[in-house]
Amino acid sequence: MEQIKATDVRIFPHRRLKPETTEKILNALLDLEGVLRFLVNGESLPKTVGYGPARGTSVDHPDRKIITVKGKEVELLVSVGEIIVTIRLENLEEFVEKTKAILEETLDFGFDVQVGIFTRQQATVSDNLKVAYGIEEDFDPRLIGLVDPKDNSNETVKLIR
């Protein structure tokens, strides 16, 4: 596999985003040059109530919606708090500049844009165990850092193009 140079850009809005806003931002960012992958992070939203007398009742959270990114439907599993974009090193400066412009246009509150490494760089023991125990068939090195150790990548990763 060909090696490329890439880094992460973290977008940290000062409020949690609505699904509509997330959709708008993701679509705008996907048009920019050199983006490789997105990690949409946030507080996870349960499907059913986990504790108390109402245990098992469905939650129907309005933020747990299906959004359309570049024609593909993506189910949001979290209340979006941050977006981490992996970007090719040669497009970095232009990307940060344009991202800031997009965010200023869509958000009416503050945000931070940071450049650095915000995802894991190497496969962990959990990653390897998933393959060894047959939880995942194959291990794609491009997905390192995207998937939570407890999750199955089929459920949380969506290929858009």
Binding site: R16, K18, G50, H61
Partner: protein
């Protein structure tokens, strides 16, 4: 906290709606009891029982039930410790529990509804920054959402963008309600900043915040002194070493 101080009433909620949001009994249903009314019970002679007037709920022998609030760190009007002190100074016969993100009050059901009404209708409560949560309380330290609502994994309350009002669609523990309960408009953010009881300053780094540094240093100093027993156990220590002569 001062029990003499009258809190400003800023909204009104039906008694029935409060009962529904609490979710302990259906509106119109009678109170379940755990023991017969006190008047009908035989007791051994006890001075204390004569001295203390029981609260109405105890007289009737009603169940003990609870109401629990979560208060956002983003300038909610009241905060757990504050609530505990207020409850203790204002109400009789309460048992209150303080946790980092939530504050529960337990009392006989009959009295609970009266207290809940007072807590929900006055400036003690803000529909956006306070949440009525029996279970799954997480959210007090998270960023607010775009409408200024505190995070709630069960989304018990929703913000109507057209009317600008917040209403509860589920009861305390997350069971859906038949009809939403309107709790009014969120308070103005600037007003909240004025009345909030939380101590915080935003976006100031630790090293630039003189007051915080001072507090941390004081704690550090006293802990160290105390740990070594300096000044505190000096005489005692000398005596043990036989140095006190």
């Amino acid at each position: 906290m001062d029990p003499e101080f009258e809190m400003k009433k800023i909204r009104s909620i039906n008694d029935e709606d409060i009962v529904r949001v609490l979710g302990h009994r259906n509106p119109g249903e009678s109170y379940k009891s755990v023991h017969p009314p006190l008047d009908e019970m035989d007791f051994d002679e006890d001075m204390m029982k004569e001295l203390v007037e029981p609260i109405p709920g105890a007289k009737e022998g009603g169940r003990t039930r609870y109401i629990q609030f979560t208060d956002s760190v983003y300038n909610a009007p009241a905060h757990p410790y504050d609530r505990a002190r207020t409850y203790m100074s204002r109400f009789r016969g309460v048992d209150t529990g303080t946790l980092s993100g939530r504050q529960v009050i337990e009392i006989r059901e009959l009295d609970l509804e009266k207290i809940s009404k007072e807590l929900l209708e006055t400036e003690f409560f803000d529909p956006a920054k306070c949440g009525l949560r029996g279970a799954t309380v997480h959210g007090h330290s998270l960023r607010l959402d775009e409408n200024g609502l505190m995070f709630d994994a069960l989304q018990r309350y929703v913000y109507n963008e057209e009317t600008g009002r917040v209403s509860y669609v589920k009861d305390q523990v997350g069971r859906p309600l038949d009809t939403p309960v309107d709790v009014g408009e969120p308070l103005d953010e600037d007003h909240l900043k004025e009345i909030t009881t939380i101590y915080r300053s935003d976006n100031v780094s630790m090293r630039e915040d003189k007051e915080a540094l001072e507090a941390v240093l004081t704690i550090h100093q006293t802990r160290t002194d105390g740990g070594f027993g300096l000044d505190v156990f000096k005489d005692d220590l000398k005596a043990k070493l036989g140095d006190d002569k």
